[in-house]
């Protein structure tokens, strides 16, 4: 298991190097996405449904109780 604290401390040096390399970049607009993001809505009609999906989902779940996924509240 890698040591999280060590990884962060070493990583901070990397971040400083990256920041230094970009220090001359002018203040300009930010590019988050290269395409326009639109709100997409599906047609108001029933979609395809896999009748076995719940079974597959149950097989993946760590805990399953009375037909529902049971999860820890907080860790």
């Amino acid at each position: 298991m890698p040591d999280e604290k060590k990884v962060l401390e070493e990583g901070k040096k990397l971040l400083e190097e990256f920041s230094e390399a970009l220090k001359d970049v002018p203040d300009t607009e930010e590019t988050h996405y290269v395409v326009d993001l639109k709100n997409v809505t599906r047609p108001d009609a029933p979609g395809k449904c896999d009748p076995d999906f719940t079974k597959k989902f149950e097989a993946l779940a760590p805990k399953w109780d009375y037909g529902y996924l049971k999860v820890e509240k907080k860790r």
Binding site: V7, V25, E30, Y33
Partner: protein, 427 residues
């Protein structure tokens, strides 16, 4: 059973290219009509295939059997393609060498004893070894082109939005694209033709992309191709420099004109890319909390994945956002504008895929800076969202290397045409 399919399904995986194979399911998919009839494929293990192990090369998802098909898997099946294997990969696509998989490293079939590149390591190795006809990889900063170059095969990253990402376990949502890896440009174009096109399940999907293989035109006569001079300053391996310049001569001999262009911020690509990736990857991995499926990622992952998570978390904090993340988003705008300027007036840019040859498998590299450097010529296409491909450009001391072709947004066809022209031309 078709003799061809039978032959492929019977091959032993000597290079650890696959995480899991599905011969029974593959046989059941045989004989279906379509553009990919009886073509055998491997998919990178971060692309969901219903009923197949989609582990992302990580212990985190070692038991994750995808409960649905990604859009690309659905399209491959509907065109008669046979999905035979889930390919090995760097853990959660966080790697450039193919060494960081929980399932062990993949070996380069074209240069035994060396890494195949990554992160689509198994996909490229499987194609190079002749285990499959074609494969899918994903490319966030070069993860299709880098292994294609190292393994001597063709790899193509489409324009951002050309191929649906529905069912792809994302590494960095704003940069990821799924694309083909094949032994010829024609096969890569065919696979792209099948998987491209609008998908309402992906909010970034574009209504574009048809007819790539049918429209393939390998004529290079009169094509203007830009070569950014900054490439020469950053190529670390002399042999790669020679292979690239010999490729430029080959393009000229075939009738193309090589034009000098500039990408002055090429050296800012790596810091810009990684600062973006850290933040997006941190966000993408919050769903791997072990509550609904899999294990909690921080308790199961390797060092590079953990590095990206902890640094992403750190620079997402309000006090650090301006210094690191926002600056990187601004640098992305600068690089994108420079890329568009360089592409203005030319049909495509050409250059190296990687600055150095793949290292040896037993050569342990602990410094992330050394590994990140493999990405320096490929990240720019992802930051700008433009199409780019790698086509074999010969060997340096017996190790393959590729020529990269980069095009304008939505001009994927033109990039494939140049790649096909280069592939076809023999002096």
């Amino acid at each position: 059973m078709s003799e061809h399919v039978e032959k492929l399904l019977g091959k032993k995986d000597k290079f650890n290219a696959f995480i899991k194979t599905y011969p029974k399911e593959a046989k059941a998919q045989m004989g279906k009509k379509g553009k990919l009839k009886d073509k055998v494929l491997a998919l990178k293990s971060c692309i969901c295939v219903n009923g197949y192990l989609t582990s992302c090369g990580s212990k985190t998802l070692e038991n994750y059997i995808a409960p649905y098909d990604s859009t690309v898997a659905e399209r491959i099946k509907s065109e008669g393609g046979i999905i035979y294997a889930m390919a090995n990969m760097d853990e959660f696509a966080c790697g450039v060498s193919g060494e960081s998989s929980f399932y062990g490293p993949t070996e380069n079939p074209a240069a035994p004893g060396r890494v195949p590149g990554g992160s689509s390591s198994g996909s490229a190795a499987a194609v190079a070894a002749g285990y499959v006809d074609m494969a899918l990889g994903s490319d966030t900063g070069g993860s299709i082109r880098n292994p294609a170059s190292h393994c001597g095969v063709v790899g193509f990253k489409p324009t951002y939005g050309m191929v649906s990402r529905h069912g792809l376990c994302d590494m960095a949502m704003s940069l990821d694209q799924i694309g083909p890896i094949a032994r010829s440009v024609g096969d890569a174009a065919l696979l792209l033709e099948v998987i491209a096109g609008h998908d309402p399940k992906d909010a970034t999907s574009l209504n574009a992309g048809t007819g790539f293989s049918k429209s393939l035109d390998p004529s290079l006569k009169g094509k203007r191709l830009g070569y950014p001079k900054e490439f020469d300053e950053l190529i670390a391996d002399k042999g790669i420099g020679e292979a690239v310049h010999s490729s430029l001569n080959r393009l000229k001999d075939a009738g193309a004109e090589i034009v000098d262009v500039g990408l002055p911020s090429l050296d800012k690509g790596i810091p810009t890319y990684y600062l973006n990736v850290y933040v997006e990857f941190f966000s993408a991995t919050r769903k791997y909390d072990g509550r609904r499926y899999g294990h909690r990622i921080e308790e199961a992952c390797g060092e590079e994945v953990l590095r990206r998570i902890v640094l992403g978390s750190y620079i997402s904090q309000k006090e650090w956002q301006g210094k690191f993340y926002r600056k990187a988003l601004q640098a992305r705008s600068v690089i994108r504008e420079e890329m568009m300027r360089a592409l203005k007036g030319v049909d495509a840019l050409v250059g190296p895929v990687v600055p150095s040859l793949p290292h040896k498998l037993d050569e342990r590299i602990d410094d992330p800076r050394v590994l990140y450097a493999y990405d320096m010529f490929t990240v720019i296409a992802n930051l700008a969202g433009v199409p780019a491909g790698s086509v074999p450009a010969g060997e340096v001391n017996g190790v393959p290397t590729g020529l990269q072709v980069i095009g304008k947004p939505l001009e994927d066809q033109k990039v494939l045409d140049v790649m096909a022209g280069f592939e076809d031309y023999r002096a």
